[in-house]
């Protein structure tokens, strides 16, 4: 028969479990594969996936929350300002009218392509993992282990390049998050620049959203910016 201590143990473990990080996503699977393949020396086409992401350094290196209205068009990338003259990215309108940004299909620097698992989006010197185009989005929407303030969160990689090489020289990007279709609170954060034993480098990036809806995320560093829109 279970006594008080044993009941307490069950409760404590259950409560602790609810506080566990919610960082498992397809990138985790990719990472596991990459680690495993690296050890056994297996190389298999697209599965030699170099990966990405992110978990260990999830935090609040730089945190901004942008509740201002913005002139930034959806899915734009640019230099000099968020609404710079770089070509607009493709977008797909959801039934709710959210013009979700399509991932970049061409012109992806090899340095980024070899580190990315799945789609990416960006411009010449600033690229992000297009997490909203993969299975991670479903997990973000599931509100598993929801946080009261930001129930929907995602982690992904941001790459900054200099002279065609992934580099931290430009410093940590800033990230702002705002809801487009209604009031809402968003947050973005960057962890410290990460280096993996595979020789990959990226800025671990996190975004949080207070509600489901249409959201715009803008990352800027130096004179470069990337803006994407996601339907949570």
């Amino acid at each position: 028969m279970m006594d008080d201590l044993e009941r307490r143990l069950r409760e404590s473990f259950a409560q602790t479990a609810m506080l566990a990080p919610s960082a498992v996503d397809l990138a985790s699977a990719a990472r596991a594969r990459a680690l495993a393949q690296r050890r056994v020396g297996a190389v298999a086409g697209s599965l030699a996936v170099a990966t990405v992401l992110i978990t260990g350094v999830w935090g609040s290196g730089t945190l901004t929350s942008d509740s201002r209205s913005s002139e930034v068009a959806s899915g734009q990338v640019g230099r000099g300002s968020p609404a710079a003259s770089s070509p607009s990215a493709a977008e797909t309108a959801t039934p709710a009218g959210c013009r979700v940004t399509e991932p970049t299909r061409s012109g992806i620097p090899s340095e980024v392509a070899k580190q990315a698992f799945g789609n990416v989006f960006g411009n010449g010197r600033l690229w992000v993992g297009a997490w909203w185009t993969g299975g991670l989005l479903d997990q973000v929407r599931s509100k598993d282990l929801a946080d009261d303030q930001f129930p929907y969160t995602a982690k992904y990689a941001t790459w900054t390049l200099q002279d065609g090489k992934v580099s931290a020289a430009a410093g940590a990007p800033q990230v702002s998050v705002k809801r487009l279709d209604a009031p809402g609170h968003g947050e973005g954060s960057f962890g410290g620049y990460a280096t993996t034993t595979e020789g990959f480098h990226f800025w671990p990036t996190g975004v949080g959203f207070s509600d489901t809806g249409c959201w715009q995320v803008t990352e800027t560093v130096g004179g470069d910016s990337v803006t994407y829109i996601v339907q949570i």
Binding site: P21, A29, R31, T196, P204
Partner: protein
């Protein structure tokens, strides 16, 4: 053909991670009570599981296989950060404390959790497997590679230690009838 086969395996593996990954991180977190370590443990275990994925996925209990790896990695004390990332700064320690995770604070306030951290790793692992994973002693014995008797005695000693620690922290007589010195 080789690529197709491997891709198929990977899809199944991704499905598994998608479905069960969070559960594994929770399990690891209960075990180690540290977010980063939990992610390390889960990721390392998944990497090992992937290498033997055909065997794992056809087993009756894939979770048990991965959980065993997590426990053994935890007990081995040879924790390896799953990403092997070397951040130049630790954002979780940067800035003011207000930025720290509320969840961590909640855990820190839980004195009972601290008592659990006073247990030997193997003792805690036995309790986690028994009271969180709901495994019976026979299965725990297999998971840990020890005898059923050892599982029972380890659990018994751990529970006794917790009772004693609880009594001591409350300033009440412990199971030996002594009162904690102040």
């Amino acid at each position: 053909v080789r690529v197709s086969i491997v891709r198929g395996v990977a899809v199944q593996f991704e499905d598994y991670v998608q479905a069960r990954g969070q559960s594994l991180v929770r399990f690891a977190y209960v075990l180690c009570n540290d977010a980063h370590t939990a992610e390390d443990l889960a990721q390392s275990a998944l990497a090992k599981a992937y290498r033997h994925w055909r065997r794992v996925r056809t087993s009756d209990h894939p979770d048990a296989y991965v959980q065993r790896i997590i426990v053994n990695t935890y007990l081995s004390g040879r924790r390896r950060r799953w990403t092997n990332e070397l951040p130049v700064s630790d954002p979780t320690r940067a800035g003011d404390d207000a930025a720290s995770d509320i969840a961590d604070v909640a855990v820190a306030r839980d004195a009972f959790v601290h008592l659990l951290e006073g247990l030997a790793p193997r003792a805690k692992a036995v309790l986690v497997l028994r009271y969180y994973a709901d495994l019976d002693d026979a299965v725990i014995a297999v998971q840990l590679g020890i005898s059923r008797v050892s599982v029972r005695s380890t659990a018994s000693r751990a529970l006794a230690q917790l009772r004693q620690a609880q009594a001591a922290s409350a300033g009440e007589p412990d199971t030996t009838g002594r009162r904690r010195s102040s």
